[in-house]
Symmetry: C2
Subunit: 452 residues, 2 copies
């Protein structure tokens, strides 16, 4: 692959320059859950694309705007690159070692909210295109960028946006927003994402908080109502109790089990990294743990709020209580269906006082491991990572891959610079700078191979 000499030399020489662009990008807060800095960040992305000669536009949705950019290339093939400019909320702030929106490089890593998920993915990809343009003066194929601003809040409006812009987004293949290496530094090809159905459950039992000495014996307590309603969803055996919840679940195939079996055991790594003493459901490790991690749907409490939460004691009976709950869905569960079953379940269990607010969702989606585009991404990685890419048929996280796979009909490949201690969604989110450079090099190769 001697034709990458010039490209690789460019990437090594201009590395710091790209990191500066990433720093500027991370410094711009863009928290979709809090509607903070989104327009400013979208404008920044548009300018970043235009700098590379992309015809770009900021397109309105009913939520955060989508940035779309397109640049023609030599071949007629079109690669669609999906990224998002929004990030998770940075809380709890006190656990960050440096401020989340003041990116800092320490010991070969850059720290900041969104630096991994997924701002570095966008800048390193642009960096790869810079290198190709520098070496060849033009792109080898058409490239389209779709950069949305609601990925961290379940991409509520992206599905409609894609359905409304099928011809604009028409392509032959898609690169997903994230990817990375596992704990052995092995690059991973993730070919499926679970779906999600995110809800806020809330109860209002009184007009006002009341002294607990008065209300405790005779008034309904919102926090208790919420606890009992949650308890009706799942017991300590982890089986989800909503009738019909598992009806549409497609269990993993023999091929899936075979691919999962090849993947390394993660038990010890998880225990060390996340401070897990024992896995749930009696899981010990091995293929069982790996299968359970990604091929089962979940019901996770992401947050609980009620009454007094400060230091010491306050004797109050809270009027209101709420929980954030996410259901991770597997093929072929549908969020709308789960939502309906959840409402029905609460009503049947005597919890019609529990209000359900749907905060977003998406069905699961998968790409065929035998697709030729997947082969390109897998094969080009070996030179960069000195180890073959490993194929993972399904991962536990979610993303809006459904409309890419099912509406645009694209194979979706993952590649990127995540790594196990990247702390996406958590304090001290970070990237490894060595992986940043590798991703840019890999990206340049994928673009050129795909263009042929």
């Amino acid at each position: 692959m001697s034709d990458f000499k010039k490209i690789d030399a460019y990437l090594e020489k201009n590395f710091d320059h790209s990191l500066e662009e990433l720093k500027r990008y991370v410094s711009q807060p863009s928290i979709s859950a809090q509607n903070l800095g989104l327009k400013e960040c979208a404008l920044m992305v548009k300018e970043m694309l235009e700098k590379r000669g992309f015809k770009s536009q900021i397109m309105d949705t009913d939520g955060a705007p989508v940035v779309f950019g397109e640049r023609k290339g030599k071949s007629s093939r079109t690669l669609l690159i999906y990224n998002h400019y929004d990030v998770q909320p940075p809380e709890p702030l006190e656990l960050w070692e440096s401020p989340p929106f003041e990116p800092e490089i320490r010991a070969g890593k850059m720290y900041g909210r969104g630096v991994s998920d997924d701002k570095s993915h966008l800048t390193s990809r642009l960096f790869a295109l810079d290198a190709i343009l520098d070496a060849e003066g033009d792109l080898p194929c058409n490239i389209k960028f779709i950069v949305e601003g609601e990925e961290e809040t379940s991409s509520v409006h992206l599905h409609d946006f894609i359905r409304d812009n099928l011809s604009l987004l028409k392509a032959d293949a898609c690169i997903w927003e994230f990817g990375g290496v596992d704990h052995r530094d092995m690059p991973m090809q993730y070919l499926g994402l679970r779906g999600i159905c995110y809800v806020e459950l809330s109860v209002e039992s009184l007009g006002t908080d009341v002294h607990s000495g008065l209300g405790g014996s005779i008034f309904p307590n919102a926090a208790w109502r919420l606890v009992w309603a949650l308890n009706s969803l799942k017991g300590p055996d982890e089986r989800i109790l909503i009738p019909g919840f598992y009806d549409d679940v497609i269990p993993p195939s023999a091929r899936d089990r075979e691919l999962m079996d090849k993947l390394p055991d993660v038990a010890d790594e998880y225990k060390t990294r996340y401070g897990v003493k024992d896995f749930i459901k009696g899981l010990k490790g091995g293929t069982d743990l790996k299968i359970e991690e990604v091929f089962t749907p979940t019901c996770t409490i992401c947050g609980l709020t009620s009454g007094y939460q400060g230091p010491g004691s306050k004797t109050v009976q809270p009027a209101r209580a709420s929980a954030k709950v996410d259901f991770r869905l597997v093929p072929a569960q549908k969020p709308e269906d789960i939502l309906k079953k959840l409402r029905h379940h609460f009503d049947a269990q005597g919890f019609s006082d529990v209000q359900i607010d749907y905060l977003g969702g998406e069905p699961a989606a998968r790409t065929d491991p035998d697709d030729p585009f997947i082969k390109i991404v897998v094969d080009t990685s070996t030179e960069i990572y000195e180890t073959p890419m490993e194929i993972v048929p399904m991962v536990g996280g979610s993303g809006p891959s459904y409309p890419f796979v099912h509406d645009l009909g694209l194979p979706v490949a993952t590649m990127g610079l995540g790594y196990p201690d990247t702390r996406a969604h958590a304090p001290n989110e970070n990237i490894r700078l060595d992986l940043y450079l590798k991703h840019a090099k890999h990206m340049a190769r994928v673009v050129k191979e795909f263009a042929k």
Copy 2:
């Protein structure tokens, strides 16, 4: 009672002056749950007592200091007056119509945190003594004040303080920190307080918060563990499930039922005032509701905290979750015993991962309705309130009356200026100024009658 002409005239003439003192007192934040402003407030109380010629001292405890003041009077009888200078946390701040620590008078009411519970009780009592001293130059009996700073956090150190200072606190009768009128403006004589056992329950299931797409299927979730542990304490039928919890409960006597029966029905008032749609346990009103309200022990969730609680969605599996829970106790339950049974219950139910932090407690205590001191307080009230005082054998709230009743051996009478919309522990806590004046007048009469 013509001998009160001069006293009453003084109280009416100097009313605004006393309200100014109350305003200064309320302006000093003194939040025991947050250890905020306690020393400053104790010093303020000491100065207020010294202004009236009380020999006063600030006495250390293992927590907030106690202010003790004593002034001799003409007779050998000694009246002990109990108050507290601490207040509840003011949160949620956004629901206050004026800042909680900037007391404001609007339409015949004064608003501020602690204005009712119980700062106005102290200043109006001092105001009554001012009037007696002005009229007679001396107090008719010995008066002792004990003003503590941890009442709102279950008076953790008061019991020991009283046991360590039995001779200092020696008296013949005690006036309790609060009292007031009901919704008909009828003054109430509350003769019993429930006990309390306040705990914080917490679970830590992981070393760090984890992306819910990763942890949801295989890692233990602290919020779920907490929900299940709480659910094991009480189900929707409201029966507390801790083995032995009800063992020591002394049910209300026939006399209690008779006294409760005489009290007015509260059902409609509660529904209107607190926005209750239906009472729990199928209660509709009448004596059943009144008995249930105060003679049954409770298990109340006062607060819930876990994971993400901001706007929108965050897909995180929380590492930590906690709940504030208060148990209201009836005679003869003991907080230490309940604590032991709670730990045992959690362990037996598989929740040894739930940590219990004891934030304070006190057993219930009652005073005999036939005590002569109670008769003085009841009889002197008629002239002021134009209606006889009503005797309530037990109330739902708690307070550290146990050491007063059982260690000091005192009859404890309640009187004060609370009223149903006083919003103690809630936003917009307030007092009615007309009741402030009435309480001062009543107090002057009690002191003089008691001295005989």
